[in-house]
Amino acid sequence: MADALFVHRLHFAFTITFHYIFPQLTMGLALLIFIMKTIALRTGDARWNQSAKFWGRIFGISFALGVVTGIPMEFQFGTNWSAFSKLAGGVIGQTLAMEGVFSFFLESSFLGLFLFGEKRLGPKLHWLSSLMMFIGSWLSGFFIVATDAWMQHPVGYAIEANGSYALTSFWALILNPWALAQYAHTMLGAVQTGCFVMAAVGAFYLLSQQRTDFGKLFLRVAITVGTIAALAQLSPTGDIQGRMVATHQPATLAGMEGLFQSGPGAPLAIIGQPDMEKRRLDNPIIIPYALSFLTYRVWTAEVKGLDAFPRNQESDNIPLLYFAYHIMVGLGTFFVAILLLAIFKLFRGTLYTSRATLWILMLTFPFPFIANTAGWITAEVGRQPWLIYGLMRTSAGVSKQVSAGNAWFTLLGFCGLYVVLSVLFLFLIYREIDEGPAGHSSAPGTPTQPQPAAAD
């Protein structure tokens, strides 16, 4: 526990896990807000506009926390992982700098306009600012995923005489096949977080019989978009991502699946706890041949298990990798099931009165956060023991000049600060939900038609 490498890893893991609570919500909501603004513009129905602005306020609170917890992420590349940055900065610095230059200016400018400028902008420009927020936040996601994808599957680089990595092809970095697959999978996950949060508030309004007209609007958008996202999450994007791992990181796949023995016709483990001493799964429940089929589309294909790799090539935390992956897949399957149920009832017209389904929707909102986090743990723990897969070990990337004591000091500081931020976040979100879309600004039922830009 006093080992500096361990503390630096924990430092990054803790701050990134906390940070990612906010971007997954804002990236998901950005799409939904844009959809609501578009409907508002086309129908002229003021309730859609009020809904968009209500979610805009929740977006604003989450965005503020995303920004303040995001700056530490960029800094940590230099502060805690300086040996890595010194060698790899010429490549991954590209995408990180592009995120700042291309998406943050866009996002922050148009969020300010969206939140504070409706009167000054008029309906069309206000709609445009919701589109720009959406583009900005999704571009930002792309640059971060592209950065991670290069660490998972390095492409378009050459090694210089001094050992550093030099970019040789910009387009190879941007169009890294790993990045494209991972991006689609990540963004669909974020959309589901946005949808389940929106559905939960909608279900809450219906169940507590307040603002039911808004509750219905929220559910309609969230369930429709959520169902599409959840299905696409499983297939094709989940499937493509899985086969990408099988091709480029076979040891990671074996760890994720808890497959200790290589062989043809590999089974898919549904339940079971990895026993790292005896190298097997305890009390396994398996689907025979399924892993071979999912990976290679051939029931009897040979899949490499952990026994096919030297121990220093496998992840240093296989139980965490295995459980993170299984939690992600399990929750993803659960989301598909409840969303299909909900959309079936939505089309039948019985969703708004079906108390059991509404209860489930109201209580499900924490799980997409867990599933997204588990997905990232799968990706990052799965990459171990590599920092850049196949090129640089994690232990080689750390800042040797920063002692374990200093790293503990700042890690504990972040823990304290983030506890405060969590409490504040929940409190402020609760207040927004309590005040509701119409209560915040004007008397309920009073349409607040956007005014033409005030002469100023």
């Binding site: 960029e74 590349f77 900065g89 991954i92 230059v101 300010g112 207040r431």
Partner: protein, 350 residues
């Protein structure tokens, strides 16, 4: 190529200091000149729509520094580990207080965030100043180009300095004075009535302190870092930057007398830009001088990233910054004019 990137990174950092400088400055003067809740909402309202955009210059500047000079980014961020982490905590507290103050209408809630906002702004100004002081003074780099500084050692610059010594504290106080002036001018420009008048009065008093501190840090810097004089003498055209700084400082005095708020604020921007560019020109080609052995210092030549990446970067940088300038100008124009404190029906404003 590396010189172009040196200039671009310096430009982005200078933009950050000028822009976030005025909203940090607004935080410094917040408790001082804004007494009622309406006053305070006016001060926060004056930076509300723009502060996070200003902070983006730090993130974007940091990102560009990362890819253009990876060795510098790695060495300095790890070496300044402790102060940078504290800067992050202060940025978190400050951002939270600006965003969340208006969310609950309660005098206690507002009073709490007002104090957090002001305190974190003051400390940030001092920390950023001290950081600049460290770069000018030089850091204890070893032959591999790495170092680690504790918060303080014996408070003297030397071969084994800490983040804080008398010199870096002096620069920190100078930064505090300069940003007080800068923020005061912004608040005077963007608000009206008593707040604006008090801000103007504060600026005319603090101006003398800024003059005094400018003389003090200039003298001390030339004494401690011989490279500054060498660098300026090697590039005589570089003297336009100190001249810009002095002209800006005199301009603040002149326009403030005439109650020409926009020009006084622009003069203050010129002063800050002039000071930073003077330091950058003086240090060049060093980007992080060594306090140990001058040969260990990092220069633009030793710290820059691989060539092809820098060339590719130039293409997207120009496109991206042209777009960013577009949105920034658009936002500032849409929010031009004085802040009007009201609880308008749209719930817009702070």
């Amino acid at each position: 190529m590396e010189t172009i990137w040196f200039a671009l990174v310096a430009l982005m950092i200078a933009m950050y200091v000028v822009l976030d400088g005025f909203d940090i400055g607004a935080g410094i003067v917040h408790l001082w000149i804004a007494h009622t809740d309406a006053d305070r909402r006016a001060v926060i309202g004056s930076i509300g729509p723009v502060w996070d955009g200003n902070e983006v210059w730090l993130i974007a500047g940091g990102g560009v520094l990362y890819f253009a000079f990876p060795a510098l980014y790695a060495s300095s961020f790890a070496g300044f580990y402790l102060p940078l982490m504290m800067v992050l905590w202060l940025l978190i507290l400050r951002g939270t207080s600006v965003e969340f103050r208006s969310h609950v209408v309660s005098p206690l809630w507002a009073a709490f965030w007002d104090v957090v906002f002001a305190l974190s702004s003051v400390l940030l100004a001092v920390f950023f100043g001290a950081a600049l002081g460290n770069v000018i003074r030089g850091v204890p780099l070893d032959a591999n180009g790495i170092f680690f500084e504790p918060l303080w050692t014996n408070f003297f610059p030397g071969a084994n300095p800490g983040i804080l010594d008398w010199y870096t504290i002096l620069v920190g106080v100078a930064a505090l004075a300069a940003l007080t002036m800068h923020g005061g001018l912004w608040v005077a420009l963007k608000t009206s009535g008593d707040v604006s008048a008090r801000a103007s009065r504060l600026v005319s008093q603090v101006w003398w302190l800024v003059v005094l501190m400018t003389i003090a840090i200039t003298t001390a810097s030339f004494k401690l870092q011989p490279q500054l004089a060498l660098g300026l003498r090697a590039r005589p055209w570089g003297f336009v930057f100190p001249v810009l700084a002095v002209a800006g400082l005199l301009g603040v005095f002149w326009f403030e007398r005439r109650r020409d708020e926009p020009r006084a604020f622009l003069a203050s921007c010129a002063y800050i830009l002039g000071m930073l560019t003077s330091a950058a020109t003086g240090l060049y080609p060093y980007v992080l001088p060594a306090a140990t052995n001058p040969a260990f210092g990092l220069t633009v030549y030793s710290a820059h990233g691989p060539e092809h990446g820098l060339r590719v970067g130039l293409v997207w940088w120009v496109i991206g910054m042209a777009l960013a300038t577009g949105y920034t100008v658009f936002t500032y124009r849409r929010f031009a004019g004085k802040v009007v404190v009201s609880s308008d029906a749209e719930g817009e404003g702070y």
